[in-house]
């Protein structure tokens, strides 16, 4: 547990919750990232703009933090084929299941949605199982 970072986790989570609350308060929209990505390409034109702005803001602020206040250097040494397979699974799965971490595990659970609770428990347990198999059985 030496990598435990409770304060930055709590502050960061609070900002994510605040972002989702403001988006709901002003625009009446849910901050589900996978949905925002898809609809920024496929919604009616006038409904694409706010989504594009949201995504630009997300990438921009992350760029600022990562450039000027890099917290921890990330190791980028994963197998590229694995990264591709993972990306396709995440893209396809979030569409099929109507949401990702933000949409189901944050916004959905905050509304006490049964569907989101089922989805969250399912993807959490499969993710834990997958990482267990990768790390402790295949020893990747």
């Amino acid at each position: 547990m030496e990598n435990f970072t409770p304060y930055s986790a709590l502050i960061g989570g609070c900002l994510i919750g605040l972002s989702a609350a403001l988006l709901l308060f002003f625009n009446g929209r849910v901050a589900g990232i996978s949905g925002i990505i898809v609809d920024s390409f496929s919604a009616e034109i006038e409904n694409r703009y706010w989504r594009a702005f949201f995504l630009i803001g997300l990438m921009f602020s992350a760029a600022i933090v990562n450039t000027f206040f890099p917290v921890v250097p990330v190791t980028y040494s994963r197998n590229i084929l694995l990264v591709i397979v993972s990306g396709i699974l995440v893209g396809y799965g979030t569409r099929l299941g109507n949401g990702c971490t933000s949409g189901h595990a944050v916004c959905g659970l905050a509304r006490f949605s049964l569907r989101s609770a089922v989805a969250t428990i399912t993807f959490m347990s499969t993710a834990i199982l997958t990482s267990y198999i990768m790390r402790h059985i295949l020893e990747y």
Binding site: G12, A21, F60, N66, V85, G93, T101, R115, R135
Partner: protein, 139 residues
């Protein structure tokens, strides 16, 4: 226009949240998922704190008839129907997430590192989403 500015600010806050909490760091995510190893439960706190903030705020927000800049709240329908599709989608997502440690938001945030890996992940993510549209919209 106001809606776009609001969305921009929300995106900025979301990106800050992801990076400060290190949710955008796949190493950190994998350490969280690895409950049998050197478990780092920080990301549980991220979720807990995001959930608490949002559900308290939402309690007051949804007492309003409508949001400030729009005529209605666009909330997903609150059904209690659990289809195979929902579970299967969550399984695919969970396997993908557990393999490498990126979810859609964290990949976008990590893009700014300028490294190859999040970039390739994001392209693959887009391909996965397009494959879905191709298979499901034609039926």
């Amino acid at each position: 226009m106001t809606k776009n500015i609001v969305a921009l600010i929300c995106g900025i806050l979301f990106g800050l949240g992801l990076t400060i909490s290190q949710m955008s760091n796949p190493d950190k995510v994998l350490a969280f998922l690895d409950i049998a190893g050197n478990w780092d439960l920080s990301l549980m706190l991220v979720m807990f704190s995001a959930l608490t903030t949002l559900s308290v705020a939402q309690y007051f927000i949804l007492k309003r008839q409508k949001p400030v800049c729009d005529s209605q709240f666009y909330l997903p329908k609150k059904g209690n129907i659990i289809e195979v599709r929902l579970i299967l989608g969550a399984v695919f997502f969970g396997v993908g997430w557990g393999l490498v440690g990126y979810c859609p938001g964290s990949a976008l945030a990590a893009l700014s590192d300028g490294k190859r890996e999040p970039f390739i992940f994001t392209i693959a993510l887009g391909i996965g989403m397009m494959l879905f549209s191709r298979f499901h919209n034609k039926k």
